[in-house]
Symmetry: C2
């Protein structure tokens, strides 16, 4: 009989669940709000309700589910399945997610961080499906990543691998919340681009459609760039350059064959991909830089659902 | 019957060979010069002679050898066993080392780069023997590295993983021979320390035992530091800081539990380890930095012999 799994994607505002078979077909979905400001118990209840709902939609009971995989915001311990005070779920504190969910649902549960399950999903059914050495980078308010190395998800000794937002691009740069200085995230995230845009407008007063400094976000910069605004285009060039610098470091360490970009800034298309690719060709290692492909992810929101189902299929950390 | 392997370490001036059993006992050794300026054929002959000599010393024939592992200077393709014009063997050009050696010796041959076999050796019998996520960094004229991730040697898609000398510490830094800018190797290698010392003496004329600018090497800086020379001590602090900055990036990507340092600068002991460890504590990721150990390697020259034997035992790239 066909085995069935449920993949769960816990975000800062929603929790999505998907029923997935072993071939990676997404058979049912559920998506519902998860409130950041409610108690741990209430938000866990919303997750459980979503999981139950997705089984009900298929008309099956949880007894027929072979495993549940959960992608959660980190930091977390994927080996124990414990989340430690995720930033966007401030009421959580330390949550033994695996244990609580297994007690509640009587199904084996596997937990990993959100960036990792996206990477696993894209490798399974998306952009990375033909490569064994694959880096998937999420460009959101911060920068996260997951890597497949030699066909296996890279976890490291305590599950904190591929904190690519916190590699150094300038040792003399500003201090980051993580404790390091000059982190990639401070230069190439959506927030960083918006902040740098505001700073330069105030300092340099460039000719630009972007005038209302307080209202500048990565989206308004994107919209101005789409209308041909030279200053906004320059901000994308600069952001892509910084991202390229960070990716050169990641490629020189991990020797991945493909980098897939996802999240807000990746949706800007060539505005961001062109300077990223150019920087890698300018700065990358000979014999590697010509071969590395940098492309958009393919699965959108389904990546996390498929990836979290996949970690359940593979029994967790030994992918 | 006990299986026997030969590990070979090709350096810029010597080739060492060792007879190794499956338990990692080094039963016989041979070491002989390898001349950089002779023809490819002659230097390959020296390697073959060393391999034959180590078997002869044990009184056995090559027919009794189950595999030969060769650690060679890179760049190379470990999957095909081909070396591409190693910098310190300028007459080599492209050498299909695996094929040539297998034809010559009729024994299965596995090839990997020198930094990787040192990492494998140290993980097998040295500093890293209790950890699955291990980074081994060689501080020579340049900076090389090998990493074990989740118990397996990290190769990447074309064998160029862990080019740790070429991760960026300052995107605005000087151009490196690899094409990148502000590479770690330009700040934290023995050559970089000597160069920076010479530059600062010429520019700042500090009070120091180091006066003869032309004669300054990492060794003379070390000797002055040992005699308490404040300026020389400062140069070690600075070099250790830069190395720590690079290691923070590597740790944030690979989440290794241990970093072992080897090569010339590592022999300076606390002069280099203290600032490296301090920088990691200052800049590393919370929850990781307190747990990562940075220690010297344990095996000295035997690391490469044992590691190259080990890649032969494991049948090559799938460690």
């Amino acid at each position: 009989m066909e085995k069935l799994f449920i993949g769960v994607d816990i975000g800062g505002t929603n929790v999505a669940s998907g029923l997935v078979d072993e071939e990676g077909n997404l058979l049912q979905r559920d998506k519902r709000p998860i409130l950041a400001d409610v108690s741990q118990k209430t938000s866990l209840r919303q997750i459980v309700d979503g999981i139950r709902a997705v089984a009900e939609k298929e008309g099956i009971s949880l007894k027929e589910i072979d495993g549940i995989g959960i992608g959660s915001p980190g930091p977390l311990d994927p080996f124990q399945g414990v989340a430690f005070s995720p930033v966007n779920l401030p009421t959580w504190g330390t949550v033994p997610l695996k244990r609580i969910m297994e007690e509640e649902l009587s199904v084996p549960v596997t937990v990993d961080n959100d960036a990792n399950v996206v990477a696993v999903g894209e490798r399974w059914k998306g952009a990375g499906r033909e490569v064994d050495d694959f880096l998937c980078v999420t460009l959101g308010t911060g920068i996260g990543g997951g890597a497949i190395c030699g066909g296996r998800l890279l976890h490291g000794f305590n599950g904190n691998a591929v904190e690519i937002g916190h590699i150094t691009v300038d040792f003399n740069g500003p201090r980051c919340g993580c404790g390091n200085y000059g982190c990639l995230e401070l230069y190439a995230s959506a927030n960083a681009m918006a902040r740098r845009t505001r700073q330069r407008i105030e300092r340099e007063k460039p000719e630009s459609l972007l005038t209302e400094v307080e209202q500048i976000t990565s989206r308004t910069v994107f919209e101005a760039a789409q209308r041909g605004d030279k200053f906004a285009l320059e901000m994308f060039q600069e952001t892509g350059f910084f991202l390229g610098v960070g990716l050169v470091t990641a490629i020189n360490l991990l020797n991945v064959e493909m980098v897939a970009l996802t999240g807000g800034l990746a949706n800007a298309g060539d505005l961001i991909f062109e300077p990223v690719r150019r920087t890698i060709l300018e700065r990358g290692f000979p014999g590697v830089k010509e071969k590395v492909r940098v492309i958009p992810t393919e699965l959108g929101e389904d990546a996390a659902l498929l990836g979290s189902a996949k970690i359940a299929i593979d029994g967790g950390v030994f992918i």
